[in-house]
Symmetry: D2
Subunit: 345 residues, 4 copies
């Protein structure tokens, strides 16, 4: 018995990763694909310019793409995965939620709204119950659930392990982000060959706010954000996939790199189909993790960490995750699995 | 009237930049070129596999390369520029200094020795007089003067401006470094295409120590290092030239981004032939500076800065310098010009 | 005494190269800049997103961009350089020619029209007089003159030398083309990092037709194209600038690589301000020319050649030119200089 | 029942691909690993600096590496896969063959020797019986079998289909080769970022000779090479894996692109464990195949073809294969499977 699911915005970079992730899924079955009206009526093969380096799944390729509109998505598809530009998501996602669909969304709109759960199932699964607050406030039958930005999700698991072990006062973080994070057309070749760009619009603020909400405390009514300062500096570099981050953490209590490594390795995973067996993989080699070599660890769903060292006020370390798997499509699917396990479907 | 100078280790990546920089120099004239014994006796054209994208200067190409040995470098060449692997530099540079030569060196050995001046002429020219301490202690007629590591020199000018304006308590810095910093054969293509490497051996320690010595106070006898903590995380990325750095600074006194920008722009340059007209160039566009677009600013001798923002404890900003010009060859030549101006030749 | 000139389509990739080339020109002075209506009224600094790695010339930056319309370009600007998308050029260029302007155009429209001169001043300057045929047929006071496509211009000078020496029967050519040839937004980073694309729309046909017209014979009325077969295969690779080409030539008469090298080196240049001193530079090293090292030879206006070898039916060789200098902006400017010398201004 | 096999030169780029390919092999079991004497005695994990983006197989990682010497490889390992530098292979492979081992070798030495089979199992499996000639002439119990160079193997399957359909008179071919073809340290990052190199030492000759031997006729005693001219031009470009080639073929009989596509698609594969289900995959999209998107087709063992077009004397097309799988490790393993099927083990 599988649950029929839909993909809203199925032709973009993350939409294609959603297709790749959901096609072989044990519990979900792709039953609807939507895109902009110019693609509606075409087969998915025609509508999507498939650019993933494994073949387009045959049965999905033959499906017809419909418009992104609650009126045309079948009612017996309870769960939708959304990866729309945030401006579009802001308009479309509430319409779907109002029409009764559960929307597991990767789009950046609403992520810091007080009644919208922003969840990583291994980190803060209990936040999912903000759905009840949301439904009450907005009068919806459906709901909107968010996963964080790809650059946020890369550092939050190791930060969660540190917060639990010794507490966090402050985080300074620098990112080296892959071009796929901007979508297929987001970064031109002339901008990035033999180059790096020290700014990604809105990204620093996302890291600073989302991390604190994810590491916050949910009391059944609202989330109290983590009381720590976060300063981020975000860079685009010429890699295809995999965000690498340098993190400097001031801890509340004294600690050692060894204790932090132990906390990383002991941090639990969850029992959901898309979750990695080990959430945080720690490398001894200070030259790892590297995007090309390590982004696909555990099907791209693990967080890789290395270079753990003491600083004057705590520790520094490097972390890496696959930005369109763990950081986008896989994160949304994992939230969908959490919704299923928690009985929301 | 020009001064004859020599280049020790003339065939490597920095050696070639030294040739390119010194060939048209108004005050210096290349009079000696040394390399390993396997190259000795060859013309420079044969010995150097020239890989700079401007032609090899004709008159230098025809010169004969000699062995790196004080016995074979002419006595009437008072000033040598050295860019040797640090293990070789450690052995060879004292021999030259003992034999009476002034060695302006880019090699990393001895940089933090108490009696070795580590100087950036625009920042701490007065440290050059450590030469007198060095000569007294070591009994040399010549001397060794060092410029800092390429990753250090990129951030120290803006840090000097901040230190002078409001004082520095702490620095967290992440680097995105070009492959030329490792020399021609330092990074293989398979290591770096579609990749980044979050570790450069010894680099973090160099940034942490050299910055504090450069920003320290010289009382005529010794340098008291700046009392601040510096934590660095160094990454290699697929760019050819230009080190980009994200810097987070905790300041002693309260400040604003506007005040810091003003301090950057007001920071003076020096009147030496290779010095830039404006030491620190500040960009308003938060997407700048970028390695490919901005590394050649003022012939690659300026520091480019952007993204100046407030943080909880001070400011963050990005900075960029050309690592083999400002960060190596140009830095050594500038120190040579300082030696000339201060009467050491 | 300088001639005022205009740049039509001044904000694009080639438009910016035209600005860079014309700003310091000894005989021409930039007097008008046009762009699409959305940019009209802005300063050039605002309208152009300047992406060349040397600064935007100050006096051009301050100029106001006007719409691309003969009605708004001053009448005392006799010569316009055009680099429009071919669809736009097809519509706009005749309007300017009819209004009396001389248009030296890099756009691909009209290149193979019988009454439009397609010229490389070093190769077929006499074709410029097709202007008279054009004026008679079309009733224009102005005229349109074209330079060839960037991939064509790279191979035609060495082919011209071979044609003159021993005659050409057939050419098979493969190209390795830089991303700048597609304009700033033409190739996305996700398409080209760690990749190559074995097709560039329309490019193969341009090489096959334009080369034969350029090497053809002008009898005062029309150009008889060279009677040779040309087969091209065009590839995009991850380089920023510089098209590299592998050329296999069947010659009419027997020859040797030595004779062909001699013909390359003896091929004359022209006495125009932007022409290189030596048109074809021949490398002995079979590993040269390389895009990054050799594209800027003679300010990017020379053709670099290497790897000349015998084949069963003739010779093979590699050639390289800077695609936005020699292959676009510089080619148009050179044609403008030819127009001036031939008295058309 | 699996056959124990050894890997000679197991730590290099192709050696690692051999480990990756053989570890899960259904019929072969890795029983010996050799490397240079400096690695002998170490575990494979220590000796190999593993750089493939899937984990090192655990049971292989723990094996001890021995010296490359017939005296230390167990006698009950009948089949060795060799990927040594050609100079080493020239010395070592005969010693193993004389000692009774079957050597399936990827090294370039001996490939064009008259008594050494150079085979691609789908193309010329009957050539394997040159082993008997070899044994008689050299008095060996073992034998040496070769697979071709990675650039040769990419074009030979489509050429074989054309030869069989209409005959081949002449081939002009240009290659765009990945850096992995030169081994892990073969191409430095400074050589290839934003660049291409129009020469690979010895590669053009390999393509010209090996292709004619592979497509030749074996009469039981010797191979008569195909009577056609082949001219090659080989380029290195900044891709990690996957050689792309532009091929121009003069055919003996008239033909059409449609007939050639049909011949490609009808060309049979072989029934061996590592062979692809379809040997030649043809793309309609002229922009394919592309290295990054298509190199892994059928586990990297298929040949991808596109851009089939008519020329004056025949056809032109593009082809692609994974150079370290189909072009090296996979080719050697496939030859080993052929040796097994033909009863040589």
């Amino acid at each position: 018995m599988t649950t029929p699911v839909g993909i809203v915005g199925a032709t973009g970079a993350v939409g294609q990763r959603l297709v790749q992730t959901l096609a072989p899924h044990p519990d979900f079955e792709i039953a609807a694909l939507t895109a902009s009206s110019s693609s509606a009526g075409q087969s998915y093969r025609e509508a999507a310019k498939w650019r993933i380096d494994s073949p387009i799944p045959d049965h999905v390729a033959a499906m017809t793409v419909s418009e992104t509109d609650p009126a045309v998505v079948p009612d017996d598809v309870p769960l939708l995965f959304s990866s729309l530009p945030s401006g579009v998501g802001e308009r479309v996602e509430p319409a779907f939620a109002e029409a009764g669909y559960l929307v597991s969304s990767n789009s950046s709109n609403f992520r810091t709204d007080p009644d919208v759960p922003l969840t990583i199932p291994e980190i803060n699964p209990e936040h999912i119950d903000l759905i009840e607050v949301q439904r009450e406030e907005r009068g919806w039958d459906g709901a909107i659930v968010k996963n964080p930005n790809c650059s946020t999700i890369t550092m939050v698991p190791p930060l969660a392990a540190i917060e639990e072990a010794v507490g966090i006062d402050r985080v300074d973080v620098s990112t080296l982000q892959a071009v796929s994070g901007a979508g297929y057309d987001g970064v031109t070749s002339m901008e990035i060959i033999d180059n790096a760009i020290p700014h990604i619009g809105g990204e620093e603020e996302k890291m600073e706010t989302e991390a604190r909400k994810l590491l916050g405390t949910f009391d059944g009514n609202s989330v109290e954000w983590l009381d720590a300062t976060v300063a981020a500096s975000c860079n685009r570099i010429p890699t295809l996939d995999g965000h690498l981050e340098n993190v400097f953490v001031d801890t509340r209590a004294d600690t050692t790199p060894e204790a932090i490594v132990e906390a990383f390795e002991a941090y639990p995973t969850v029992d959901l189909p898309s979750a990695p067996e080990q959430l945080i993989h720690v490398f001894d080699d200070p030259g790892r993790p590297q995007p090309r070599l390590d982004r696909n660890t555990e099907d791209g769903m693990a967080i890789s960490v290395g270079g753990v060292q003491a600083t004057a006020e705590g520790v520094q370390f490097n972390c890496l995750a696959h930005n369109t798997r763990r950081g986008a499509a896989g994160a949304s699917v994992l939230n969908g699995e959490l919704l299923a396990r928690e009985g929301y479907l």
